[in-house]
């Protein structure tokens, strides 16, 4: 939820405490070979804890492994 992302279409990244990175706005995700990775419509959550089974996306595993991260 951001009031700037859609108007400017710039990508906005929100760091969620103990959780993923929320990505909104205009962005493209590429793999190491520069190939496009399909993303769902709407905001995307990127794994920050390393435990997700659907990386680069978040699947909630940070809650199971008690990921702390930096706020």
């Amino acid at each position: 939820m951001s009031d700037d992302c859609c108007a400017s279409e710039a990508a906005i990244i929100t760091v969620c405490p103990q959780g993923p990175l929320l990505l909104r706005g205009d962005f493209e995700i590429l793999d190491a070979d520069g190939q496009h990775i399909d993303t769902r419509q709407g905001p995307v959550a990127l794994c920050r804890c390393g435990g997700s089974a659907i990386k680069p996306f978040c699947d909630g595993t940070h809650k199971l492994i008690k990921f702390e991260g930096r706020k």
Partner: protein
């Protein structure tokens, strides 16, 4: 959908009234039947007659019943009847939700409290059962039980949008837009669920299995309508949605694994796979921006936000316990009372 089979005096009387023309006075006796029912009910949450009646009264505000005149939706006698049942139901929900801790009305503290509630959810694990043990018939029962909400997924929370403002409203719209597939029919969550039901050989029309849905499952769905339709409970509806989102992505992955274990793949599993990813997004927005945003705008609603979350967790735990008790002993978890079509 069609009117369900009555389960007692009240749903029988309501059923008869709804089949009349709304201009005829067919509602005079409903209030006294409801009083009797509420007076004699041991537990509103488990009361088949009361929960089915409440479900019928709410359904008039969604897509209604094929054989019922749409004008019944705003009939004053039915609104009054609904209010009577809601009063008893809300009392029961406050009882099962338990005591509510005091939380500072800031976005981060409210989100932290909700995540902690979700993490401590000690309810029975239906998802683990589906993942590891359920047979195909039990997996079908699980879908039938879920269908009374999932085939209109998001609709009861959508009532809250015009009741909210600012940050909380924008967050609710962002989540709900996603629930509705961002306007793409094939991605709408209720459509994905229809696809799952069809793939398992089940009917996919809303309400097709209402006669098989037990009171506690109806109560879980009725609770969302109660919270969503009353502006005074706008805190509760945001807490409810936050708790739902926060207890979703990990169980959905278990469901997906369970259905794959039983030999099903996409498109049957699409619904669960979509929710693993979507709800990992939604829980963040629901915690901090929806519930947390509302708490900062209206600090007096913090207790209701937590009430909504605790009630959601408590009723889901009651429903889950009922399902597991049945399945673990080789019985059906569906409603099998008189009149239930087999």
């Amino acid at each position: 959908m069609y009117l369900p089979t009555p389960r007692g005096d009240l749903s029988y009387a309501l059923n008869n009234a709804l089949l009349c023309n709304p201009s005829e006075d067919s509602t005079a006796y409903l209030a006294s039947v409801a009083e009797d029912r509420l007076g004699s009910s041991l537990d509103v949450i488990y009361d088949e007659d009361l929960q089915l009646s409440l479900f019928m009264l709410y359904e008039l505000h969604y897509r209604g019943f094929a054989e019922v005149d749409d004008r019944w939706e705003w009939n004053p006698a039915l609104i009054s009847l609904r209010a009577k049942i809601e009063e008893g139901f809300e009392d029961a929900l406050r009882d099962v939700a338990g005591s509510i801790s005091s939380v500072e009305p800031s976005s981060s503290e409210v989100a932290k409290a909700l995540f902690a509630l979700a993490a401590n959810d000690a309810g029975p694990s239906v998802s683990k059962f589906i993942q590891r043990k359920a047979n195909a018939d039990q997996a079908r029962e699980f879908l039938i039980l879920k269908s009374i909400y999932q085939l209109k997924e998001a609709d009861p929370h959508t009532w809250a949008i015009p009741k909210l403002a600012g940050r909380a409203k924008a967050a609710m719209v962002e989540i709900q837009a996603d629930e509705y597939g961002n306007g793409r029919l094939s991605r709408m969550h209720s459509e994905l669920f229809r696809q799952t039901m069809r793939g398992m050989g089940l009917r996919d029309d809303f309400g097709a299995y209402v006669d098989r849905i037990p009171a506690v499952t109806l109560a879980a769905a009725n609770m969302i309508s109660l919270f969503g339709m009353h502006r005074r409970l706008r805190g509760a509806i945001t807490g409810h949605l936050a708790l739902y989102e926060m207890t979703s992505s990990i169980p959905q992955a278990c469901y997906a694994r369970g259905f794959r274990r039983l030999g099903y793949e996409s498109p049957v599993t699409d619904y669960f796979d979509e929710h693993v990813e979507a709800d990992a997004v939604h829980e963040q927005i629901a915690g901090r921006d929806l519930a947390g945003g509302l708490a900062e705008d209206e600090p007096g609603l913090v207790r209701d936000i937590l009430f909504g979350a605790q009630a959601a967790a408590a009723v889901d735990a009651l429903a889950g316990a009922k399902y597991l008790e049945a399945w673990e002993t080789g019985k059906s978890a569906l409603y099998t009372g008189a009149g239930a079509a087999v």
